[in-house]
């Protein structure tokens, strides 16, 4: 099979670069963040490290939602929907914890 890039014109290469810049950058950012978490998980540098780990996860999740899933480019309704589920998870977890943390 031929190298697909070899047949591309200069215009196409520019187009490709423009189109793939965001996905590739996101990809690299996600890998970097994962590396942070894996390092923290493997070394356990201090007791409350899980807080940092969860913060890193929150950043990864927002990155996927906003950039990979293109929520920032969507109309307000879709943005609302993308956040709605998380809000409801917060209700479920929060209200359940009023039981478990107070037993």
């Amino acid at each position: 099979m031929r190298n697909p890039l070899a047949t591309l014109s200069a215009d196409d290469r520019a187009l490709l670069r423009r189109r793939l810049r965001t996905p590739v950058l996101t990809f690299l950012a996600l890998l970097a963040l994962l590396a942070v978490n894996v390092t923290l998980g493997a070394t356990l540098p201090f007791a409350q490290v899980w807080i940092v780990e969860l913060l890193v996860v929150a950043v990864m999740v927002s990155l996927i939602l906003l950039v990979s899933m293109e929520v920032i480019h969507e109309p307000p309704l879709v943005r609302l929907f993308s956040g709605l589920g998380f809000f409801w998870v917060a209700i479920m977890v929060g209200m359940t914890l009023t039981d478990y943390l107070a037993r």
Partner: protein, 219 residues
């Protein structure tokens, strides 16, 4: 999306819609509504993990230490790669590069398959380590801390449910790739790729959540 679609790329209107814009908006909203339900489905399991951790911290940590951390991490990398190839497929579909799109989709499916293979190997390793408490024929490695099996069981339910989603996703993706390789697909059903891409990214997102919740924070 930041840029419009190339010429000859678009969506054929179905009879009950008034405009193509309406049809695209409906499809996008529909998949987001579905993703909300997926999020809540998995979050209920994450909630159970949290409560198990609160009720039995030591046993949960003991069980989590037995999970195959490095396989989990590798699998996360695999899924992040598949997210990239899926994003590429979407971009190719928008600029009308059908062949590149099909290849990116096949790569995505292959990465998904790799994830499942690694997951299968992980289950095998769990089996070898006597980490399957539900098998009456193999005594549980952590039998002296009974609550450990709660977390281990939850790990199986959560990862199996995710694997089922991934398996379904791969099957759908392959079916769609077969259709997408035909001439004229991009002029009629370009938004299928976009809609499917959202699903794939979301399965990825669920794993991005599941990996730390199961493997990392309880270590």
């Amino acid at each position: 999306m930041s840029e419009g679609l190339a010429d000859g790329v678009g969506v054929a209107r179905a009879g009950h819609f008034e405009t193509v814009g309406q049809q695209r908006a409906a499809a996008t909203l529909g998949i987001w509504a579905w993703l909300i339900t997926e999020l809540l489905l998995f979050s209920a399991l994450f909630l159970v993990a949290l409560i198990t951790r609160i009720l039995h911290p030591e046993a949960t940590v003991a069980a989590a230490k037995h999970l195959k951390f490095w396989i989990g991490a590798t699998n996360t990398v695999v899924l992040i790669c598949s997210s990239l190839t899926m994003s590429m497929a979407i971009e190719f579909s928008r600029i009308g590069w059908q062949r590149a799109m099909v290849r990116a989709m096949l790569a995505t499916a292959a990465l998904g398959g790799l994830f499942l293979v690694l997951k299968g190997y992980e289950y095998y390793a769990d089996w070898a380590e006597h980490m399957m408490p539900f098998l009456s024929s193999r005594p549980f490695a952590l039998a002296e801390t009974p609550p450990a099996r709660l977390f281990v069981n939850l790990y199986y339910v959560a990862t199996l449910l995710h694997a089922v989603h991934l398996f379904t996703g791969i099957a759908l993706l392959l079916g769609m790739t077969w259709l997408a390789a035909k001439a004229g697909f991009l002029s009629r059903h370009q938004n299928w790729i976009e809609v499917y891409g959202l699903y794939w990214h979301f399965i990825d997102l669920v794993w991005i959540l599941a990996f730390p919740i199961l493997y990392v924070v309880n270590r």
